[in-house]
């Protein structure tokens, strides 16, 4: 095998069929000089057996003696990786065959030493396919604002999906994933990594999606009433990493929707109060907060269509495929 140009890391636990789909999508890449490290997070004989059925010298299986969570599993994979470039894939997602080829090209052309290369993906559910994100970051747009602030009442506008990230091993060694966070792990890593000098988020030029994110097969989203408090604690702790605008948007859209799903009405008052006091909310954030709590889907759809129709066509803003 030639020295791998890219190390691909898949953390997995007890999903043998799904991980095989992910593994096959990596081994079918047009960029063949890669190594694939599947980190099996804890004792899991069924997954080890399923992976044993794949005959490809580029595949390495790394079983961990006990379960340490996806952040720890990713870090363990980084420690094993040999290449300069590392790409992550979650075990329930998959890639299209050109993904690594196109990202490697973008990575090698990037002017910064530590590009975090991402791409569009298909968000697939039983309702159909959507191509997200609908917008790529503008020049000099702070990453927190790109991810948290939206310009309308539609989701999927700005995102960096973990399964689309390709970056340098060096960056991952200096900024590892935090193993102590039950939620917001990926975005926490992004916001800390982007502060390293020379780290920038780069999207590949091609607008067609290069990965699939399966919404149905994700772990069931059980939100309990304390989840929104956890989100608030996380953003308070991470306030130095984001702008006041991004801080307010996170509270009024992300934390607010989590609280609304658990019908935790206290959050309806607490979140805007915090956002106004400590951050810089925009009108659209407050509108979104009200919409999340007070309007049925149909009304939200009508408001959303109205807002979109008043918008001028913008560079880099794409419809959903």
């Amino acid at each position: 095998m030639p020295f791998p140009l890219v190390s691909v890391i898949i953390p997995t636990f007890q999903r043998p069929q799904l991980v095989l789909r992910a593994v096959r999508s990596v081994l079918a890449q047009t960029m063949r000089e890669l190594e694939l490290i599947v980190v099996v997070d804890g004792g899991d004989p069924a997954t080890l057996e399923a992976l044993g059925s794949i005959a490809d010298s580029r595949l390495r299986v790394k079983p961990l003696p006990k379960k340490i969570g996806s952040a720890g599993a990713r870090n363990a994979g980084v420690a094993e990786a040999q290449s300069r470039w590392i790409a992550f894939l979650d075990d329930d997602d998959e890639w299209f065959p050109r993904k690594v080829e196109m990202q490697l090209e973008a990575a090698e052309q990037a002017t910064s030493p530590h590009p975090i290369v991402s791409c569009r993906f298909i968000a697939r559910s039983h309702e159909g396919d959507l191509v997200w994100p609908r917008r790529v970051p503008a020049v000099d747009e702070p990453l927190g604002e790109y991810i948290f602030c939206q310009h309308g009442l539609r989701g999927g506008e700005g995102l960096v999906l973990p399964s689309t990230v390709l970056t340098t091993r060096e960056l991952l060694l200096s900024v590892p994933f935090r193993g102590d966070l039950p939620r917001h792990n990926d975005v926490d890593w992004l916001l800390r990594a982007i502060r390293v000098p020379g780290a920038t988020v780069v999207f590949i030029a091609a607008t067609d999606p290069q990965a699939v994110w399966y919404i149905e097969t994700n772990r069931p989203r059980i939100s309990n009433t304390s989840d929104w408090r956890y989100s608030v604690r996380w953003i308070e702790e991470s306030r130095a990493l984001v702008t006041p605008r991004a801080y307010a948007s996170f509270l009024l859209i992300w934390a607010s929707s989590t609280a609304a799903r658990g019908r935790a009405w206290k959050a309806f008052w607490v979140l805007p109060w915090k956002a106004i006091r400590n951050g810089k909310p925009r009108a659209i954030d407050l509108l979104a907060h009200l919409a999340i709590w007070l309007t049925p889907r149909s009304a939200r759809s009508a408001i959303s269509v109205f807002l979109e129709s008043r918008k001028q066509p913008q560079r880099g803003l794409y419809g959903s495929a």
């Binding site: 960029m31 539609r154 999927g156 999906l161 917001h184 975005v187 607008t207 759809s301 959903s320």
Partner: protein
């Protein structure tokens, strides 16, 4: 990057199918019998039953064949799914009711080799023998090769998706087929012509040649034909109003000429779809598609029709992968 991919597959064949399994084994067998040294076949199956999957089982031992299920509807969506899985720099398409000759892929490769500016190529779609008492088979037959270099040449280019090849880079830069056009979609037809038109507007050349052909077995009875004709012209109407909505006014003259040619029955594909006495019906369907297209917004950046706001995108925050 080229050096990295010296082993890469050169051609991908994409075959989208939906609830029409009968001919699939024949189609796949004829493609796999091609004498080209380096290609893969991608079948995208949108069927509600498992018949096509079962019939394809014997072929799946061949590593060149890759089979995918797609739960969505519409030929253009299926083609786009196939293009995303394609590893070849050239993607060739045909239909689930066509068979191809053994030199089919070599001929396509040769057509593209003549000039790097050629981004799309069409071949002939020959009708299989059929009983004229029952119906007819839609076809497209051109006697001389033709190279289109400008949108105004579109009047000469009417090739159809049953025998079509596109450079993957061209498909990618155009954002793929418009999924609101094409069989099984909102506007029922026209996705192949729409891609050709957008490619020409972007400066890509299109080559049509009788040296390449497929044989079409899709017999339509005389009872089925009016519906097929209606969707064909409806889709064309929706396709033709798009350049105007995108502000490409140089296309307007072309549209007028094309529309006249089609309505007058001098179109090759069009006349294979039925006798000329149906001109009024064609015009009516065309105008309906034209008006329906006028009512649906077009994304100025991608040149695609915009679908309604999907319900999932109204789930603010909750549908985000990062929380």
């Amino acid at each position: 990057m080229a050096a990295l991919n010296e082993n890469a597959i050169r051609i991908s064949v994409v075959l989208a199918t939906r609830n029409r399994a009968a001919m699939i084994p024949e189609a796949v067998r004829s493609i796999l019998q091609n004498d080209h040294p380096d290609f893969e076949v991608i079948v995208v199956d949108q069927s509600e039953d498992d018949e096509a999957e079962a019939l394809l089982q014997p072929f799946l031992a061949d590593p060149r064949l890759r089979y995918f299920r797609d739960s969505r509807r519409g030929r253009s969506a299926g083609q786009n799914a196939g293009f995303r899985e394609a590893r070849g720099s050239l993607v060739v398409m045909t239909d689930d009711d066509c068979t191809v000759p053994t030199d089919w892929l070599r001929q396509f490769e040769q057509a593209f080799a003549s000039d790097a500016r050629i981004g799309i190529a069409f071949g002939n779609v020959l009708p299989a023998p059929c009983d004229p008492a029952i119906g007819c088979i839609p076809s497209y037959i051109r006697r001389q090769p033709f190279l289109a270099r400008h949108v105004r040449d579109k009047i000469q280019v009417e090739g159809i998706g049953a025998c079509m090849a596109v450079r993957h880079s061209v498909w990618s830069s155009l954002g793929g087929f418009d999924e609101m056009l094409g069989a099984g979609s909102r506007f029922k037809a026209g996705e192949d012509g729409d891609l050709a038109m957008r490619a020409l507007s972007a400066g890509t050349w299109i080559y049509e040649t009788p040296a390449i052909s497929v044989t079409h077995f899709g017999l339509r009875t005389w009872q089925q034909l009016p519906a097929l004709m209606n969707s064909y012209w409806y889709g064309l109407g929706a396709m033709m109003i798009k350049p105007m909505k995108l502000g490409q006014w140089h296309a307007v003259l072309l549209l007028a000429r094309l529309a006249a040619k089609w309505v007058m029955g001098r179109s090759t594909v069009g006349s294979s779809l039925g006798p000329k006495m149906h001109r009024l019906r064609k015009l009516r369907s065309f105008l309906r598609g034209f008006c329906a297209g006028a009512a649906v917004p077009v994304n100025q950046a991608t040149g695609h029709y915009v679908a309604a706001v999907p319900a999932r995108e109204l789930e603010l925050g909750g549908s985000r992968p990062l929380n």
